[in-house]
Subunit: 238 residues, 2 copies
DNA sequence: AAACTTGTCTTGTATATACAAGTTTTTCGG
DNA sequence: CCGAAAAACTTGTATATACAAGACAAGTTT
């Protein structure tokens, strides 16, 4: 249960849009009406609507109202910040994670650059293969600060590292910077993935931060090109 | 000149972060102090800080303050909604646009699907090649509703269609849904681009909308894989 | 020395009010 | 009946106030 009022209103409206109670191209009730029905102030309603707008659920128009957007088509926010487990659950695919290796070590110099520190902290190096429908699609290499993420096990890495970090360790993951490029696969990539003759591979490099702005994770995620799909909703910020 | 107060405060602070007056890992002045110095209410300051936070300039921490993030490294928001011209200008590369064809026609059925309409409106079909440093890197196919975007010329398409739409026609582009995939290039792709032997190509499909939520443009943008780079900043929205 | 309390700083949420600005509907004069 | 003006909506911006909640330092007690 979320205890934030505007968040609960957001969840309710978003749910109603998702399941079709509020249909595309319809106008929402006015902010004042919503304030009445939810017994909240207009500002609180506006916070909820702002979230809906940012997530592509509605379009606000001054003087007119808020129109519901067609969310059925595109909406699988591969964008944003979600773990493989969360994604796989949502999509209902038969997904499987295989931990190739898990070791604690002093940070390699090439990885150290990404953490932008002159120290040489211990890190976990986790190598995992993601299978979807029995095919080895994704090769993930994660580097996590041991000091912040203690006690990693193969079991945790098989399930979800994010769930462990948030629910067991009580840390809160806050934001990430991602870069998507296309590169030539290495010998290792060819060995570990079912590459079926492609000469390119999609590489997603992520720097992930906690809510106190400390970077705790660097990840290289290599995707088989034919299975890669990235969806984005972007507003023009003038 | 933007006349919005919170926007001006945002611009000022963002500028100070960009040019190093506010350094990474420093704390901003508290919201109340900022309210004093900018002669604004705390809520207005908070609006500005929210924007900064969303764009990856700062991290807010309850009870502590807002810390400046390191924006020097990653920040080239290829993400978001910008035109090729705006991008090229910002990066200072020697960029060139070549208009292969520009014709007004009845919408083809395969394109009609993307507009999700049963009517058969007239559209502009624009095919353009983007050169960077003398190499043909990107092949753009744009489909624009003639009714909303009248009077297209080769000259306009060479410069910037977005500038024409916004500054001449006075429309305001609002948001876009994008999808990035990797596919096999067609014969046409090979002819028009300098593909140097790659057997894959990055395809960015975009649906672009005006501020009244009408979709006015569909675009297929094909990128040479070695020159493709997509950078994203994402916050975890729990 | 360790644990707890308190005061004061910070940001987060919720509310109320006023007016600006854009859209739609109604009204009223010709 | 038509059309322009007025009224009645809508959202957008700015301000003020109150209290909740987290961080932190300085005491105070154990």
């Amino acid at each position: 249960m979320t205890k934030n009022k505007f968040r609960m209103i957001y969840d309710d409206l978003a749910g109603n849009i998702q399941n079709g109670i509020l249909k595309a191209n319809e106008l929402l009730p006015s902010e004042n009406e919503l304030a009445d029905t939810y017994k909240a102030s207009r500002e609180t309603i506006r916070k909820a609507l702002k979230l809906l707008s940012e997530h592509g659920y509605i379009q606000k128009m001054q003087g007119k109202g808020s129109v519901v957007l067609d969310v059925t088509k595109i909406n699988f926010p591969i964008s944003g910040l979600v773990s493989f487990r969360e994604l796989a659950d949502k999509m209902g695919k038969r997904a499987k994670t295989d931990v190739v290796s898990l070791e604690e070590q002093v940070i390699p110099t090439d990885i150290q650059e990404h953490f932008q520190t002159r120290e040489e902290p211990d890190i976990w190096k986790v190598v995992r293969i993601r299978e979807i429908d029995k095919e080895k699609i994704i090769l993930d290499k994660d580097y996590l600060l041991s000091s912040l993420v203690p006690g990693l096990t193969v079991d945790i890495c098989t399930r979800s590292i994010y769930a462990y970090i948030e629910q067991v360790l009580g840390l809160s993951i806050s934001f990430a910077k991602k870069e998507i490029t296309v590169e030539t696969p290495t010998e290792e990539d060819r060995e570990l993935l079912d590459l079926v003759g492609y000469d390119t591979i999609v590489v997603v490099r992520s720097h992930v931060y906690l809510d106190d702005a400390t970077m705790f994770q660097y990840t290289e995620s290599k995707h088989r090109p034919d299975k890669f799909r990235f969806v984005d909703f972007a507003r023009r910020t003038r």
